[in-house]
Assembly symmetry: C2
Homo-oligomer: 188 residues x 2
Amino acid sequence: MKAIVPYKIKGGKSRLSPFLSPSEREKLAEHMLDDVVSTLSGLEVSIVREEGLNAVLNKIIVNSTEPVLIIMPDLPLISVEHIQDIISSKEDVVISPGRGGGTNILFLRSPSTFRVDYHGASFLKHLQIAKDKGLLTRVYESFYASCDIDEVDDLAELIIHGLGKAAEYLRSIGVSLQIMSGRARVKR
Amino acid sequence: MKAIVPYKIKGGKSRLSPFLSPSEREKLAEHMLDDVVSTLSGLEVSIVREEGLNAVLNKIIVNSTEPVLIIMPDLPLISVEHIQDIISSKEDVVISPGRGGGTNILFLRSPSTFRVDYHGASFLKHLQIAKDKGLLTRVYESFYASCDIDEVDDLAELIIHGLGKAAEYLRSIGVSLQIMSGRARVKR
C-alpha cells in the first residue's frame, strides 16, 4: 500500500510567522514530517511537492491499482493506531477532516475511481465526489487527526497533547502554554 | 446514571459577539443545549449554573454513589454514539479534550473519589488529578467532541458538520461558509 505525503520543502507554514522565525518554522515542519512518517511504517512512503497538488495526486491515483493513503505532513498528534484503523476500514473512501473543512487524511481503496480536489473546503468536496461516484465513505473523525498545525493557536495543541519530535522541538525553543480564561494559547 | 450540564442562562457566548447579536447568541446556546440533551436519553439530566462551577460540581460528586457524566452544553456535533462509547468505558475516568486544553466531557465511574477543576487547561489538570488518585484514565479524543462552539471561527465547524438544531438555526439566520485559501470561516 502506498502512502503519499505532500510537502513544501521551503517557505512553508507562513501562517506561523508572527510567532516563529523562518528557520524555526522549517525545523518544526521537518519534525512534524518525521512524526507523521514514523506512523507509516510498513507502507511505501512517497513525498510529493505541495505545489500543483491536485494535478500531481490525480496523475498518481488514476493509474494506481493498489490502495493509496494521502496524509498531510503537519499532523504531529497522529499515531500508528490511527493509521491502522483508517487503512483497515472496509469502506471505499475514508476522509479525516481537519479544522475549517480541510482533508487531513484521505484513504482510497480503489484510487483510480476517485479524483482529489484539495484546497478550500476539501472535506465537503471529497464527500461529494465520493457520493457522485457511488463510493461508500467513512468519516474518520479524530481530534488528534484534526489538529493540523497551521496557525499560531494550533501550537497549543502540540504543547498540550504532543509526545513526538515536533512537540519536543517546540518546548526546546521555549514555547509554553499561556493559561487564560478561555482556551490556552502559546507564549515564549 | 446522572448527566450534569453546566449552563449559563443569560449573557453566555460573549466571544461570539463580533458576529452574532445578544438574542442570536442566546438562541444558538439554547439550540446547542437541545442538541446535547437529545444525546443523553436514558440518563437523568441535571442542568446546573455555570457560575461557581467547580464548587457546585464538587458538592454534587462528593456524595455521588453512581457514575456521573459532566458534559458542556456547547457541543452540537456530538451524537448518541459518542455518549454510549464514553459511558461504556471500563476506565475510572474518561476525559474528552476540547481545543486549547479544555475538558468537554468528563465521565466519572466513582465520582466521590474525584475532584473537578474546570477553567484554564483543565484537561491537563484532570489528567493529573486522576493520576494522583491512582485512577485509570481514558482520553476520549474525538474531533466532534472537541468542537465546543466558543469563538467565531468555531461556527464554521457547525456549518460544515452540523446536522442538528443549532446548525439549522445558524443557517436560518444566513450564516454560511467563506471559502478561503486556508481554513473555511463564516460570513453572513
